[in-house]
Symmetry: C2
Subunit: 274 residues, 2 copies
Amino acid sequence: MDARPVGVFDSGAGGLTVLHECLVTMPHEDFVYLGDGERCPYGPRPAGEIRRFALEIASYLETAGVKLILAACNSATAAALPALQERLSVPVVGVLAPEARAAVQATRNRRIGLLATEATVCSGRYTSAIRALDAGAHVHEVACPGLVPLIEAGAGADPRLADAVRGYAAPLKAAGVDTVILGCTHYPLIRPVLERVFGRDVTLVFSAGETAREVAETLARKGIENDPDREGSCRFLTTGEPEELRALGERFLQLPLERVARVALTELARAAAA
Amino acid sequence: MDARPVGVFDSGAGGLTVLHECLVTMPHEDFVYLGDGERCPYGPRPAGEIRRFALEIASYLETAGVKLILAACNSATAAALPALQERLSVPVVGVLAPEARAAVQATRNRRIGLLATEATVCSGRYTSAIRALDAGAHVHEVACPGLVPLIEAGAGADPRLADAVRGYAAPLKAAGVDTVILGCTHYPLIRPVLERVFGRDVTLVFSAGETAREVAETLARKGIENDPDREGSCRFLTTGEPEELRALGERFLQLPLERVARVALTELARAAAA
């Protein structure tokens, strides 16, 4: 039994989609969520910078006493997961690999599309993960620089959002993919729009549920779960405006974010330097 | 080929969850959605009254020239589907039966829970539909009078909503059900809350996708589909405040409701009397 919380981080509000799945799977655990709202989006940034931000945040969470860190951000996972695992003593779980596996399992015509940030597309991690599982699969990657800013601005029903999604979807439709990976934890926040644009014949893959299961299994196998009969809690931290994170969580996930505190970038940098 | 729109109606905004699935399945069809916001909720009303309202609305839509009517409301389906089918000349499709089938298919311990309005629970239609498919299934029905008003008020992240859901879920958890039917088209609008309350081991059944498929197949078999290469449109009508329907659709389904008009109750009554 281990009463320490689990740490979850993302560039902004997108990781809340993964936190939601964790709450469905592990209602008895405590969570600390940290969104880097001040430096969101990560997608257009170079890998080295994303790695530095991720190391700062993970170090801060480790110093704060979490028992496991979940990188609930595809850009950070693509750029920084090995570095985080080398640097920290607590276990670090990322996203990305489960989606590649789910897409290979789901596709019937072996044409798989990917919507992701520039950083994730540039890393080439999805294509290599998919090709490792099926060397004959065709992967069509589309970088979507416009989506995270629109989602963070709360533009769920804004026609500009649907237009942007249609634009990014067009080359995937032209390529005849039957499976599309939502390779950014922000994208499930606009799942209804994506469903309408891709229609019934395309399978959308987003693996937060499987990521949550990986966290649960890791805690169980290490014997560091919390008491299964208790009710867990969540704390929220952001480097940006607490009110923005609160509004996004409540709007998109119906998650009442009662305790949102601000954490200064200097505190993150100090944790990484320690 | 038939260019007439499909009519969809509900007591309020709940039917938008079914409309969304129709848009995913039939992006080339036109739709007219009518929400009876002025008289929402239907759930606490006697069956005869719900039947009268449903007949008014369906007659109005038929007069307006729709080619098929979808009763996207479980209370109206439970109270009025046979009456609508006897009275109208256009085909009428309801919800409810596909959910019973899906629940019987999904359950492993043959204990099925139902969350629905009082009117739907009183009708006994779910239990009889489930027992017709599996005479050994146990059905635990819970009427949830508080949910539709909270959802129509837009209370997605309001802690009172999660408290209400926990209260309604308690007897189903105590009964050990492994499958719960969301027997009201409003409930998918709060799916994240329901997922967190029931956890990973309970399957939530909501069959709007199958209902949309039934509409598509009906249009195809009757040869009254629209041109598959065109892009369809939606018009929205409400007996209540247009702004309320717009806000709910945009908030919960990311559906930009650009054209919402008000229709007077007297117009509905006139259509039914004609």
